[in-house]
């Protein structure tokens, strides 16, 4: 039983739970879209006085900020109480491809080459994290949503804009992985 919890949870169970979360949010009168929180945080900092895009009643979005806080707590609980601390079981071919980019095989959930303190305090490592975050924050708002808002919520409602956005997500991800990674790693 314990192994059952600490091992990696299977894809269909994860997919079902994510879908259930979306329907609970809909049932509670809201919708599943995580990146809106980034806009809410900007608005809550008071920049709405100068920039119209952030001038809205951000307090109406407190439910989503609570969801964000819950997600942080969930990550903490998973690590502290439900984790086996085994390396992520990715495929051999991915390990080989990443080795060519000088990224070593998983020893935990994330690569030390990107997320260790050594990486954070190197110029290149810092820039990778900063650029990655910037592109995610800028792109999700430009596209009007992220993986949750478009790939899950939007596609579930068969919306064309979401399909276009998801195709864009993959074009960007493939270009980064196959053309830009060999240049920066």
């Amino acid at each position: 039983m314990n192994d059952f919890i600490t091992q990696t949870w299977t894809w269909w169970f994860s997919g079902l739970v994510i879908s259930a979360i979306m329907f609970f949010l809909i049932y509670f009168g809201q919708s599943f879209g995580f990146s809106s929180n980034l806009r809410t945080i900007c608005a809550a900092s008071g920049v709405g006085k100068k920039i119209k895009f952030f001038d809205f009643n951000w307090k109406s979005q407190m439910w989503n900020i609570m969801f964000l806080l819950g997600a942080i707590i969930g990550g903490f609980i998973a690590k502290q109480f439900l984790s086996s601390d085994l390396p992520v079981q990715i495929s051999k071919s991915t390990i080989q491809d990443l080795a060519k980019l000088n990224i070593s095989a998983p020893t935990t959930l994330q690569p030390a080459e990107l997320f260790s303190w050594d990486a954070v305090f190197s110029i290149k490592g810092f820039l990778i994290l900063a650029f990655g975050g910037f592109l995610v924050g800028f792109g999700s708002r430009y596209a009007g949503g992220c993986t949750s808002g478009h790939a899950i919520s939007g596609l579930s409602d068969l919306q064309w804009p979401s399909l276009i956005a998801v195709i864009g997500f993959f074009i960007g991800g493939l270009v980064m992985t196959h053309f830009i990674f060999p240049l920066i790693f």
């Binding site: 609570m66 491809d97 975050g133 910037f134 792109g139 430009y142 993986t147 899950i152 997500f169």
Partner: protein, 138 residues
């Protein structure tokens, strides 16, 4: 406060399941963009297939939410360029940081504090979008 508590609980479930299914791992995102495993496609695919069925049922039976209001799905505004360009920019960042906005904060809870930098710059990216929004094609 009690009204908001249910959203906190849903967030906790989200954080746990995303971590436990490796969906917050940079390695898994790489595996996905290299088409070397079904895992991430299985997660997203299952969520979307059950999502499509559920949304169709809500519309078919005109279900109401727990406030008693009809559940409505608002169509997103028609456009191509903003979804494609914004999507590509997002995708570049998704592959580079190995995280989309949800997993970024789940990782912070897990203890990968380097993700705080990703999170702060994601907020900054959203801020810059708000500043130059009117100059971008939509």
């Amino acid at each position: 406060m009690m009204k908001l508590l249910k959203f906190l609980l849903l967030g906790i479930v989200f954080g746990i399941v995303m971590t436990k299914s490796d969906a917050v791992s940079w390695f898994r995102i790489q595996e996905m963009f290299r088409f070397q495993s079904f895992h991430m496609y299985g997660i997203i695919g299952t969520a979307v297939v059950t999502g499509v069925i559920g949304v169709a049922l809500i519309k078919r039976f005109k279900l109401r939410d727990f406030h008693g209001n009809p559940i409505v799905f608002y169509p997103k505004e028609k456009s191509f360029i903003r979804y494609m360009l914004g999507g590509i920019i997002f995708g570049l960042g998704w592959a580079l940081s190995g995280s989309c906005p949800g997993p970024i904060v789940v990782n912070i809870g897990y203890g990968f504090f380097a993700m705080i930098i990703v999170f702060l710059f994601a907020i900054f990216g959203t801020f810059i979008y708000g500043v130059i929004k009117n100059k971008l094609p939509h």
